[in-house]
């Protein structure tokens, strides 16, 4: 299945600069357990997918890209900024959407939560209100502006989590299994939302359909990149490998 692209309908007026993420011989371990081994690669493509089995290192890889996790050895550079020394600047450039939106929504009501990120960035209140209004309308949440976040449906919560990142205007967004907790209709909805983003995206997922229009897919296996190429090359290879 492939979701159509309607970028022009919702894209911001200005064209975002393309980011480059570079990993140089990156290894990461939690205590004695090594979860990523000697990863070296550069991401410049607008749409990058990451697949692999549970425990293969996908989520750790995703967290390395915006400095949530720092490498045990090696270097991660985002537009030349080292995540170890320039983590705040990196996180302003690279947004992150978590698997469980409940862990990402920190304020009791929808609009207040959307304002959280840009407030931290020091954005002017009038501009915050404008951005909040924009994403509320864009994602059909305008009727829920003052609703308690915990009363939203699972799909609406994930849209709120994505919107909460978008209002921070990142240049690249990393999604860590954004559709794992969603039903089919909401999975398709979130997939469309990702597809329509002007930002570069890195999507970690088990939903292979999500990757149909992607530029590049990385397959992780035991903390290493086992395959790297177009979806047409890598997805069938991965499916055959686990069959």
């Amino acid at each position: 299945m492939r979701w159509g692209r309607r970028a022009a309908a919702t894209a911001p007026a200005e064209t975002l600069p393309r980011t480059a993420v570079e990993l140089r011989d990156v290894t990461h371990a939690y205590g004695d357990r090594t979860v990523l081994s000697s990863i070296s690669l550069t991401l410049t493509e607008p749409r990058v997918g990451v697949i692999g089995g549970n425990g293969s290192g996908k989520s750790t890889f995703a967290r390395l890209l915006n400095g949530l996790v720092l490498p045990s050895s090696g270097t991660v550079l985002v537009d030349g900024l080292d995540t170890r020394s320039r983590a705040r600047e990196v996180r302003r450039r690279v947004g992150f959407v978590f698997q469980d939106p409940d862990a990402q929504i920190v304020h009791p009501t929808v609009a207040e939560d959307l304002a959280f990120g840009p407030t931290n960035q020091g954005v002017a209140p009038a501009e915050i209100d404008r951005r909040v209004d924009d994403v509320l309308v864009r994602y059909g949440l305008d009727g829920h502006r003052d609703h308690p976040a915990h009363l939203l449906s699972g799909g609406q919560k994930q849209l709120l989590a994505i919107a909460g990142v978008l209002v921070m205007r990142p240049e690249r967004i990393v999604f860590d299994e954004p559709t794992t907790l969603l039903d089919l209709a909401n999975t398709r909805r979130v997939a469309r939302v990702i597809d329509e983003l002007e930002q570069d995206v890195v999507v970690v997922t088990h939903h292979l359909d999500l990757l149909a229009g992607f530029d590049r897919v990385l397959v992780f296996e035991d903390g290493r990149v086992a395959a790297d190429g177009s979806p047409a090359e890598t997805v069938p290879w991965y499916v055959a490998r686990i069959s």
């Binding site: 967290r63 915006n66 400095g67 949530l68 705040r88 996180r91 302003r92 947004g95 992150f96 978590f98 469980d100 409940d102 862990a103 990402q104 929504i105 920190v106 304020h107 009791p108 009501t109 609009a111 207040e112 939560d113 959307l114 304002a115 959280f116 990120g117 840009p118 407030t119 931290n120 960035q121 020091g122 954005v123 002017a124 209140p125 009038a126 915050i128 209100d129 909040v132 502006r145 003052d146 609703h147 308690p148 976040a149 915990h150 009363l151 909460g164 990142v165 921070m168």
Partner: protein, 215 residues
């Protein structure tokens, strides 16, 4: 307060949160300084007038706040009836009822952001001992956000245990709930980092009326 805000454009909605909280505090003190039933009843009537006529809150929203406590109010009246008599009982019940309704009016007409901003202002003096008011405000907001979420997670664990034959779940709930909370806290700390919680705006920002932005 967890989810009680009802949007509106009334003068009560537009009034500063600090003023509303100050009036609420003054009412709480004042009501306990008077013991005449007609004064307390008058205060109750005034609170109802402000809530229903000025703020235009639906009656059911106010009743929703009274419903959980009415049984205690009734019990308090019965105790007073037996110990001090009907008039002191009526005064005691009317006092508490007035305060519950006044608090309901405040929370129904004030965004959490505005209440948190008042908390941050109140703790400003603690800057002298290294406390960051914005952090205190964030803790308050997150507490309000996560109480229903933790209740939901506890309910899920209880259901899972019941489904597996645990008829009376008491302490058995605690361990999985604590583990779940710790996992949530870990992801939440990452989310706070990702959303720039550690970034501090270069200067305080002015907040427009009705804005969801910073105070």
């Amino acid at each position: 307060m967890l989810s009680l805000y009802l949007p509106g454009a009334s003068p009560v909605h537009r009034a500063p949160a600090g003023l509303k909280l100050a009036v609420l505090a003054a009412l709480g003190v004042g009501l306990f300084l008077v013991s005449r039933v007609e004064v307390v009843a008058g205060a109750l009537a005034a609170v109802l007038a402000v809530g229903l006529a000025v703020a235009r809150l639906p009656g059911r929203a106010l009743w929703a706040q009274v419903r959980p406590v009415w049984i205690w109010l009734a019990a308090l009246f019965v105790v007073h009836l037996l110990v001090t008599g009907p008039l002191p009982g009526a005064v005691a019940v009317l006092r508490l009822l007035t305060l519950v309704l006044a608090a309901a009016v405040v929370t129904a007409t004030t965004r959490v952001t505005a209440l948190v901003a008042v908390v941050e202002w109140l703790v400003q003096p603690l800057r002298l001992v290294g406390v960051r008011p914005a952090r205190v405000g964030l803790v308050v907001a997150m507490t309000l956000r996560f109480i229903p979420l933790l209740a939901e997670r506890a309910a899920r664990i209880r259901e899972a245990q019941t489904a597996r034959g645990a008829e009376r779940v008491r302490l058995g709930l605690l361990v999985p709930l604590v583990i779940s909370v710790l996992q949530l806290a870990h992801t939440l700390s990452e989310a706070l980092d990702a959303r720039g919680a550690d970034d501090t705006p270069a200067r305080p920002l002015r907040r427009a009326a009705g804005s969801v932005g910073p105070a």
